[in-house]
Each structure stands twice: as C-alpha cells, then as structure tokens.
C-alpha cells in the first residue's frame, strides 16, 4: 500500500506538471470538472450553507500552504474543507450489524427468474428499529417528547414531577446506555455529559476537496459512516 501510494504520488506529480489544467467543460461526457467549474461548484457549496440554518458540517475555501499553491486556482480558493465531520460509527460496525440483521433473502421470484433480494431479511426492519432508538421507558422517563428533553430533565433529576418509583435506576440506565450508545449519538449529538464514564466520544474528521488534474471525485460516496454530505447534492442536470 505504501509503495502504491508513493508511485501514485509520483504519477500524479508528473501528470500535473505535463498536463494543462482543464479549462473546457467535459463534465457531462467524462464526469470531470474544469478549473472554473471547480471554483463555481465550490462557491455554490460554500454559499449553500448560508441558506441552511445552523446545519453542520459546513464547507469553506482554504488558501493552504503558500509553497504548495497551485497557480491555476485562485490564491484564496485552493481547496475546500469541512472540519469536525462526525463519524458516528466505524464502517466495520456497519458490516457487523448487517451480518447480525439476518441473512439476505430472495423473495417473490417472478417468471423471468429474478426475485427481489431483501437486504436485511424480510422481518428485519422492525427489530432493528427497536434496537436503534433509545427506549424512553428504559430511561425511566416515560416521556414521549424525545431524547433531547429527556436528558436535561434526567440530569436535573425531574424529582418534582416524578413519583418515587419512577426515579430512574442508575445501574439500569448505565447498562442500556452502553447498548444504545451509537444510537443515542445519532439521534442527538450531545456535546458533553457531566459524568466521566458517560462521555459520548464521537470520532470526527476534517474532510477536504482538492482539485486534481487527473480527476476530481467526491470521496464521500465510499465512506458510508462519515456524514459529510449534509450540504452536498451533486446534480448532473438533465442528460438524455
């Protein structure tokens, strides 16, 4: 892998030196961007976030290291970056979950011999849902207005309104907590929790988009657990 990468780096450097950056559009034919298109697409990406209130992650242009500056790109628009992108689960856990969710089943074989492949089994969607969404009853809250309100009231005790037997059992809470950690993270990102052993640690990444002469691709499509595309919709326009 190391060797492959350095070979690739050498190849990329050479191609960048001998190939002029693309100036004519070839997006629809080849799926590649010209320099002006890259800048325009980046501007759109940055501008888009201004319309989506308080939604993160957000993209911004970066000037980067002056010594590595590419002359064909504007000095202040060398690459796009979005920081602290949450990665709530490892890709490996998706795999594990998929294996656990039940075998793939082929159903409804029709006359032309190709059935439907049920990716999570035919019964899987219901139990999976139960596993993913933290059950308010196990938190001892018995509330239906969502986890966001349940957490503050949990930590403030909620003593006035709850009867004695309704006070959450700490041990019980912790146990379910561990099971539901990933799920809870997904439904609401809690920045900090007061208890040390209950801190939700979310792995975050900085994701950047650079313009490469050879190709320009959005890598996000291959990393299913990095949720970096909340502001990103790529439209090919209408092709026939």
């Amino acid at each position: 892998m190391q060797v492959k990468q350095s070979v690739f780096g050498l190849y990329k450097g050479t191609v960048e030196r001998v190939t002029a950056p693309r100036t004519a559009s070839a997006f629809l034919e080849k799926g590649v961007l010209s320099v002006p298109e890259f800048v325009l697409a980046g501007d759109n990406l940055v501008a888009k976030i201004k319309h989506i209130v308080a939604k993160f992650p957000t993209w911004s242009w970066c000037a980067g290291d002056p010594s590595k500056r590419k002359p064909y790109l504007p000095a202040d628009k060398q690459f796009l970056v979005t920081r602290n992108v949450p990665c709530l689960r490892r890709a490996i856990s998706v795999e594990g979950q998929y294996d656990a969710a039940g075998a793939e089943v082929v159903v409804e074989d029709d006359q032309d011999g190709e059935g439907w492949l049920a990716t999570h089994g035919v019964q899987a969607s219901k139990p999976e849902e139960e596993e993913d969404i933290p059950d308010m009853d196990t938190f001892g809250m018995g509330r239906s207005d969502g986890i966001k309100s349940s957490i503050p009231s949990y930590f403030s005790g909620g003593k006035e309104e709850e009867e004695e037997e309704d006070i959450p059992d700490m041990d019980n809470y912790k146990d379910t907590r561990a099971d539901n950690l990933a799920a809870a993270e997904r439904s609401c990102i809690v920045a900090e929790e007061p208890e040390d052993d209950n801190i939700l640690r979310t792995r975050t990444y900085d994701v950047s988009i650079t313009y490469l002469v050879i190709f320009l691709k959005f890598i996000a499509t291959v990393i299913p657990t990095i949720e970096c595309d909340s502001t990103m919709v790529v439209d090919l326009g209408s092709t026939s």
């Binding site: 439907w116 492949l117 035919v122 999976e128």
Partner: protein, 111 residues
C-alpha cells in the same frame, strides 16, 4: 427483465410488493451504458429506515470492484445524500411504477 415488462405489469408487481412489505422500498439497479461494471442482482428490497449510504455499502461486494474504485449510485441523475434515509429518497424520486431506479457507475480513484 423489468424493461421488457409492460408498465401495467410493473405497477401490478409494485402494488403487490407494497402490500406485502410495507416497511421496505423497492430498488431496481441499472447500469449506465458507458459503465463497465459487471452484471449483478438488480432488484432489492431495502428497509426504508436505512441510510442510502449503507445500501450502497452493501452493494459494494456484489460488484467485485477492485480496491480503489469508487462506486457512484445515481438517482434521477443526482447523487443522493448518503445520510438520507432510503425511504425519503424513495418518496422523492420513485418512478411512475412505484419502483426506485438507481444507476451505478464506477471510477478509479486512489490505488
């Protein structure tokens, strides 16, 4: 394949599927004509509460892609947001026959 079936037949099939599997969406995979990807299972029943990215992740091994190849799934010529639920993508982009058509293409990126 589904292309040779009439629209009525497909609608009939989808109606039956929706009745039988209310928590699923029905995805039919197609290739872009220029794509050189191999033939694969085309029809999928996907839980509607599953992110699109996870479905694409599941398709991955079936396509026997070489390492460093990126898979792109298009819905209506658009790359769907991978974090959006397949159910909402289905609601927005399902075809007249109540199936969701996805086109796939691949591209060499890093090796």
């Amino acid at each position: 394949g589904s292309r040779t079936q009439g629209a009525d037949e497909r609608l009939q099939e989808s109606t039956a599927m929706i009745t039988n599997y209310p928590a699923k969406i029905f995805v039919i995979i197609r290739r872009f004509s220029r794509s050189n990807l191999s033939q694969m299972q085309k029809k999928y029943l996907v839980p509607s509460d599953m992110p699109v990215g996870q479905f694409i992740f599941i398709l991955y091994p079936r396509l026997h892609l070489s390492p460093g190849t990126t898979l792109f799934m298009f819905v209506n010529n658009t790359l769907p947001q991978i974090a959006s639920l397949s159910g909402s993508v289905y609601d927005s982009y399902k075809d007249m026959d109540d199936f969701l058509y996805m086109c796939h293409n691949s591209e060499k990126t890093f090796s």
